[in-house]
Subunit: 316 residues, 2 copies
């Protein structure tokens, strides 16, 4: 059954792609088997990471960029990452609207990844979903993350090119120019560039970027866009192509280092998930965990002593 799924997804069948992504979301042995088969077929897609604050218009930009690529005859996969929603489990009105619009197009595949409970694994599942789309023959895979959390930054770093989306006026606030989000951008977009304050934001951004020391010596371009009016998309696509070409040509050693450090991060993520699952699958651990969590909440035991108790159970 697994081999039939793999066959079909390699031939580009969208329903098999969707099913395969559900398998990696679940994790476990089935995900591992699937990904081992998928891995040799990856490496052809250009993976574009797009990040930025809520309200910057990332979704519109991603949708319009996807349509732009599609009109050039390319197949486009989109993976959106949600922050976990503690109450509803991450159902999102906006993404549903998008999926029902874009989802009608057979050359565009869109999938929203949400966290499943508190066992983590979202980063790992996202990177696996990108690999699946890559193996299924999507030429461009866009990974869209909301916010600038630690995991999101890591995920964006696994892309071939990272795009950071800003809006005019954000430079008002010193918080907005945190080093973290600035330093991951290979290309910057000032979206909603029909609003006032574009020039000021651009100047502030240029000043900030001039302070950064990139190991690859690349000077990130700043592209103004108005995604909702389809303005600036051609420039954005050109800037993305240019960076991808640059990394392919020059600084082979830096790129190899970057790829190795991404691979290391992936291995650590996989190990973390695998080790925790191994522990939780042991007889009694889950019950112990529930009991000790209640004890910690009631301050009958401290968390560090509680995990010692879990770990001291004989490992059968």
């Amino acid at each position: 059954m697994a081999s039939e799924l793999i066959q079909k997804l390699l031939s580009g069948d969208a329903r098999s792609v969707a099913r395969a992504i559900s398998v990696v979301e679940q994790g476990g042995a089935a995900a591992a088997e699937l990904m081992r088969a998928v891995f040799p077929h990856t490496g052809n897609a250009t993976v574009v990471g797009i990040t930025g604050a809520p309200g910057a218009g990332k979704s519109s930009l991603v949708d319009k960029l996807a349509l732009f690529y599609k009109e050039k005859g390319e197949k486009v996969g989109i993976v959106c990452i949600d922050p976990s929603s503690p109450f509803s489990g991450g159902a999102i009105l906006g993404d549903r609207i998008r999926m029902s619009t874009l989802g009608l197009d057979k050359n565009i595949f869109i999938r929203s990844m949400a966290t499943r409970g508190n066992l983590g694994g979202l980063s790992r599942a996202t990177v696996d979903a990108v690999a699946i789309l890559d193996a299924a023959g999507y030429n461009k895979v866009i990974v869209e993350t909301v916010g600038v959390g630690q995991d999101e930054v890591e995920i964006v770093k696994t892309a071939d090119v990272s795009v950071v989306v800003l809006v005019p006026g954000m430079g008002d606030d010193i918080q907005a120019i945190k080093a973290g989000i600035m330093e991951i951008g290979d290309v910057f977009v000032i979206n909603k560039a029909d609003r006032e304050g574009v020039l000021r934001t651009q100047k502030e951004l240029e000043a900030l970027l001039s302070l950064a020391h990139r190991p690859d010596m690349w000077h990130p371009p700043i592209v103004p866009t108005v995604a909702t009016e389809n303005k600036g998309l051609e420039d954005l696509a050109a800037a993305i192509e240019k960076y991808v070409g640059y990394t392919a040509m020059a600084y082979g050693e830096e790129i190899a280092d970057r790829k190795a450090s991404i691979a290391k991060w992936r291995l650590l993520e996989l190990l973390r998930e695998r080790l925790l699952n191994e522990l939780l699958n042991r007889n009694g651990t889950e019950k112990n965990l529930e009991r000790l969590a209640a004890d910690v909440a009631a301050k009958r035991i401290d968390p560090y002593s509680a995990i010692e108790e879990i770990l001291s159970e004989p490992r059968t």
Copy 2:
């Protein structure tokens, strides 16, 4: 030595608090020992989580709220969480400026937590830092997170009350109204309320909140502020107090459930970190990891097979 540090931090000595936080940032056995001693002395502070998008003016709001509490005679601890900065390791201009201003006040302690490499543990270290400040006699501990990433959401959930900061005009964009960030707010702030669009943002927010089903039946208030001009802080402090009082009075069972689920998340975080460190401290694992990361980057092996190789080493 450890017991002297603990003695001093329990007496409220700020330098010992700073050193203790450095210990928990490093993790390992020293952190565990310290936290076991600290744990019985926690539970007195009110922990206020403040989150929101970059550019919303969170830092100003946190600073002004801290000063407000201080003027009421309280000691205030502030823990800021940075997204990792892959190049610089997270040095942040803004926080340095803040720390040199607020840091002069002996009743305010401010500390910025950054990720150390890619071994994770930031969430765990942050929660530990909050416990240290609590044990050291800080009456209010404010946890400020940038962005809305998965870890950030989890961290904010560990607070006694969560404040979500918005700015006028964010409602323009469906991205801004993601369920995740809406559902974690016990109190909402519309900062920069001297800008136009406040009423519209407030209406949209009210409409969204009316759709949410909170297990604790609380109706989150919406507080307009202009932090830079000290406007609305008294209302914000009152809203925070009101929610804290509400949770103390009513719905004991829901609160116990919430505390147990937070404790479970903490235990899982600790286990994840502990299991990975145990593995990495084994002879040869680190070297294997580097070699396999290079192999994965060069596509000589897939990541899932690579971790099998690491895990199959004899566990001595």
